[in-house]
Each structure stands twice: as C-alpha cells, then as structure tokens.
Amino acid sequence: MSILTVSNLTKQFGGLVAVNSVDITVEKGSITAVIGPNGAGKTTFFNLITGVYQPDKGNVQLGSTSLIGKKPHDIARQGIARTFQNIRLFSNITVLENVMVGLHKQLRAGLVGTLFQTKTVREEEKRAQEEAYHWLEYVGLAKHLNEDAQNLSYGAQRRLEIARALATKPKLLLLDEPAAGMNPRETRELTEFIHRMREDLDVTIILIEHDMKLVMEISEQIFVLDHGEKIAEGKPAEIRNNVKVIEAYLGKSAVTPA
C-alpha cells in the first residue's frame, strides 16, 4: 500500500526548473532514499511535500488526502515530520523544550486553561515533559535535557531534530541529509538507528543522503534526481549499476571513455 504519491510535481524558481515533472510512489513502512548531485532539487522536493513551497504543477498525496494548497502546519498535522539539511533548532530554548514543541499539536491547553492553570492543563504539561524526556532517551540525549539547544554538538543537534520530529508522531518522516557532518562511527550508529525507528514506531522514512554506503545499506528503494528530473528509480543493486546515475555523478566521460 502506498502512503505517498507524488505525480508530475514541478517547481520553478525564475528560469530554473528546480523540480521537473517528478513522479514518485512510496510504500507504507518502507525506507526510501532520494539521491542526486548537489543542486539536483532534493531539498526543494522535500519543501514541496511539506508545504514550505507551493508547486507550480502536479500533485502530492498522503494516503488519500491531497496536500496541495495546504500550509506547512496543516501538513504537519496530517502526519508528516521532517528534519532540515541546515539544522533548524530552536537554539535559545532548552533541549527538552525543543522536543515539547514537537508535541504541540497533541496538547489541548487553551488560553483560559493556561491562565487559570487548571488541573487538566497542569497534568497535560507534566505529561508533555515526560513524553519529551522519553524521546530524548530514545535518541540518547536525555542527560542534555536542560542545555540550550545551540550548545549541543553537531551530531547531537541532528539527533535532537529527529527527536523533535518523532514527538509529532509522524506517519511519514523526511530526513534531509541526516549523516552530513558525522564521522564514520556516528554514521554507522545512525544507520542502525534509522532501522530501529522503523521497527519501533511504524513510520515510513524518506531520506536524502550523500553517504552511498548508508544509502545502499538502508534503503529498499532509491530515487535519483538530477537537474530536477527523476533519472532513475529502483532497488540499491539496480541503482548501483545504472548508467545514467553514474553519468550524473561522475560525468559522461566516466561511462563512455573518449
């Protein structure tokens, strides 16, 4: 059963076609990778799914609901969460509060309840703290709960972004270059962790990644973008030997020696 169906998706920035008639179907519960050279349109593709940009053409469907025209916060409420290539944490608040923001859409506290600190509101707040802490434990950041997010190490910041995304209880999780800047050991741990998330949390994962070892090891399906177009799709083994893909990464001369 497919959870995400993207058809004919197109986005232009001035004269530049950043995403060009892309069709993609993602199976529920799968791990999918989107790869391609820098500037291929991968991040733009994520931004179109999550409503940061509106597409010029095409359709994005989560289950049976179209996401076109929806605002980012609506799409988050539909069950899509993401991390960002250039980390976007709430830098000046604590690690725990960052995750608590992820719980935002599950919390019911209103203006009046907050003002009078009703029992329901106090209990809900307490539960939110506990649940946020639980997500920190899950990604291994529990002991940093009271630090400002900006003081975390780079790898820890990436993990915090994941914890925050998980707190929204997503059906579909988009990871934009989660291993960027990580050392080999951290990357290995991340690979394991992504597997674990899928097992534990019943979530479908799409990731953009440059680390080919990670991509080949983890994904059941790979899409390759180049200059905004989807140039290949398939299982890791198929992509590895795809002529177009090698061309895109290494240039024509790598395939057809002069």
Partner: protein, 429 residues
C-alpha cells in the same frame, strides 16, 4: 564583596535577616527624613534584593506583597512627598505592565513593534470618551458621562478593545518580517495617534487636539479614587494579574510556540504551529495589558489628549524591554522601573541640582548645554553604556530547569505505550 556574597549563598536565614534589616533601615529613613527621594528609591530597591535571595518563591511573593501593600504606602505616608512618591510608584506600575505586554511581542514572539503605545492610547480613549460627555456627541442612546463606577468594567473593556486592535493590526502587518515589521508598526502607532488627533470631525468622537477633560474618577460604593495613593492600589492589583498571566503563558504550550516562532519560523510550522494565529495571539495579549493600563491612565490623569502617545513613548517602552532583558520577566520589570524612575525622578533631580548650581553661580553652562536640554543626552548615554556592558539586559532571560529524576520516572509510562527498547541502545550520546 565576593567573599560576602559567597558566604551568603545557601544561607537563607542570613539572607532573610539582611533583607528585613535593609527594609527596616530604608523605611525608617524614609519615615524620618522628610521627602527623601534617595530613601524612597532604596526602599524600592529592596524588591530587587528580594528577587536575588534564595528564598522559596511563595515566601518571596508574600514578602513582596508586604513591602508593596504595607511598608511602602505606610512609611511614605508621613512626609510631604507622600503623593509624589505614590505617583512615581503608580507610573512605574503602569509602565511595568506595558513593558511586560511588549515583552510578549518582542521578547517572546520576536516581533519588533515600534508602535506599541497605540494600544495604551486605545485603552485611554476607550474610557476617556465614555467617562466624559464626549460620547453624547455620537451615541444615539445612553446617558453620558458614565459614572465612575463603570471604570471597573472598562478595565475589561479596554483590555478587549486593545486586544481586538492588536489582532486588526496584526492581520495586515504580519505579512512582513523583521525590519519591515518594525516600520509598519511604527506607522500604525502614528496613524492611531493622528486619527485620535483628527477625529473631531465630521463627528466629534475624540475632541481632537483639545483632548478629553474631566474624565470621571473611579468610584465604588460612593468611594472615589482621585489621589495617587489610591490609584497605587488599583495599579498594583492589575499588575499582579499581569505578572501572573505572563509567567503562566511563558511556560506553557502558548509560550513555547511564541519562542519557537521567534527562533525559527519554518521549523515551528513544521511542528504544526499555526504561524499567523500564534503571532496574532502575542499581539492581542500584549496589547490587552496596555489597554487595561490605558484605562487607568485616563482615570488617573482625568485628561486624555494625543500628545501622551507619541513615538517617543513607544520607543521608551521598547527600551525598557531591551534594557531589562528581552524575554525576561524580572528583567523587564526592573528595566521598566529603572527607566521610569530615571525619567521621572533621577534626571529631574539632577537637572534641578545643576540648575541650582548655575543659579548660585557655582558653575555656568553655555546656553546650548543647559541642564534641561541635557536630560535626554544623559538618558541616551546611560543606554549606550548598558548596551555595551550588558547586551543581554539587566537580568537576562533564563530557561526553565527541569527535574530529571521525576521525568525519568514519568517517561517509563510512555515507553510502555509504544516502545520496548532500552533507551541507550543504538544511538550513543
């Protein structure tokens, strides 16, 4: 000095004894000395000391209550300066509430607003128009001026009307960000003032530049509020509500969504936060505090005209927030108190003193440097010094500290719900 503070740290008894001593000494000197501004300021300063003690929060509130409700009004009541002290304290209270309102907008939600005084004006005119004969000019029914007993309801009405205008301003304005937002809000502030200045025709609603005179003083069970020492308690009550509200909002779902929007709009939205609604709420709540105090201001002055609501006022309130510490409730309270007292008391005193000196021929100032003209200059210089040495403000904002042990216990429940792995497997910290 360091040794002393180190010794005091952790010793609550010593802290409380010192604090009580301090309050006693300053109150006594205020009680005995006739109209001593210094003693009055030192007495106010005890609240800051109180903030820095390590006493439990509840006790701090009680002590603050005793000082504000009992000690200050009582010990200043004997001297000839009584009403002027109470006036200063009342004005401080009004500005503190406004600065706390602006702090929600600027400090928590990160929206630079340069026209904040508009909401104060709206509150003031809301009461001013109906508590004078003015309303009779355009209201088809009713008997105006309304009696002073309506004042209490007007605090609420001022609150809601200002909040409404906060939303109305927000809807068009929130399309722009950062510096542009600052300019647009500045424009809004000026527009409101100019509208009030010109709304005497075709229908005379605000009485234009002439202003509204003889605003009815508040009244309850035949008891009238006319003197600063009476308004002092009204302001104190509203201020208590405002501080309570601000603290509760700050550490709630609402406060977190403000901070999230301030820190990163795109990430906030991707967590399901409705950007426009969150910003509008910040505008509305911030404005509502100003609106309430506007009503009090109109009643206290018994006179409202547009000159009280200039751009300089907006900037002064913003300075209070920045000087105190953006996003920091105790900081903003201190900032508002410092700036108000500086403006009302210290700078005036200094100017008077210098004037005296030059009158007596001790020193002579060239015309261009006349002390009265130097007030703004000194004010500016002080701000620059603070900006250099305390860029985070007098009391920088602090994040809450969560108790790890209790969260650890609680989080086990959630683990049972959904996840069965040990937390520290896999991803190592």
């Amino acid at each position: 000095m360091h040794k002393l503070t180190n010794k005091l740290k952790g010793n609550k008894l010593a802290q409380i004894i010192l604090l009580v001593l301090y309050v006693l000494v300053t109150s006594l000197s205020l009680y005995l000395a006739q109209a001593s501004v210094t003693a009055f300021l030192l007495l106010l300063f005890s609240l800051l000391l109180l903030y820095y003690t390590e006493l439990p929060d509840r006790l701090k509130w009680v002590i603050a209550g005793v000082v504000l409700i009992g000690v200050i009004p009582f010990v200043s009541s004997t001297g000839p300066g009584y009403q002027s002290y109470m006036e200063v304290a009342t004005v401080v209270g009004i500005y503190v509430a406004m600065a706390l309102g602006l702090n929600i907008v600027v400090g928590l939600a990160g929206l630079l607003d340069l026209g904040f005084v508009a909401f104060f004006a709206i509150g003031a005119y809301t009461y001013g128009i109906f508590a004078t004969g003015q309303a009779a000019n355009f209201m088809p029914f009713g008997d105006f001026p309304l009696s002073g007993e309506s004042f209490w309801i007007f605090i609420l009405i001022g609150c809601f009307v200002a909040a409404l205008f906060g939303v109305l301003l927000g809807i068009p304005v929130l399309r722009v960000k950062g510096d542009y937002l600052a300019i647009v809000t500045l424009g809004f502030g000026e527009i409101i003032r100019i509208v009030f200045n010109n709304l005497d025709k075709p229908v005379n609603i605000t009485n234009g530049a002439m202003g509204l005179a003889s605003v009815k003083p508040p009244e309850i069970f035949g008891y009238q509020f006319v003197y600063p020492n009476q308004f002092y308690f009204i302001v104190l009550a509203i201020l208590l509500f405002v501080i309570l509200a601000v603290r509760r909002f700050e550490y709630s779902k609402i406060g977190r969504s403000w901070k999230a929007v301030r820190e990163n709009e795109i990430a906030a939205q991707s967590m399901g936060i409705h950007l426009v609604r969150t910003k509008l709420l910040a505008f509305a709540i911030g404005a509502s505090f100003s609106g309430m105090m506007g009503v009090v201001f109109a009643a206290k002055q018994t006179f409202v005209d547009p000159t009280s609501f200039t751009l300089l006022e907006s900037i002064t309130i913003l300075v209070m927030v920045i000087l105190g510490g953006m996003g920091s409730v105790p900081g903003v309270i201190l900032g508002a108190a410092v700036i108000t007292i500086l403006n009302l008391q210290v700078l005036t005193e200094v100017t008077n003193y210098l004037n005296q000196l030059s009158l007596n021929g001790v020193i002579s100032f060239p015309e261009a440097l006349a002390p009265a003209k130097m007030q703004r200059f000194i004010f500016g210089a002080i701000l620059i010094v603070f900006a250099i040495y305390r860029p985070q403000g007098l009391i920088p904002a602090k994040n809450p500290v969560f108790d790890e042990e209790s969260l650890k216990e609680g989080s086990k429940k959630h683990r049972k719900d959904q996840i069965t792995v040990e937390p520290d497997k896999g991803f190592q910290a």
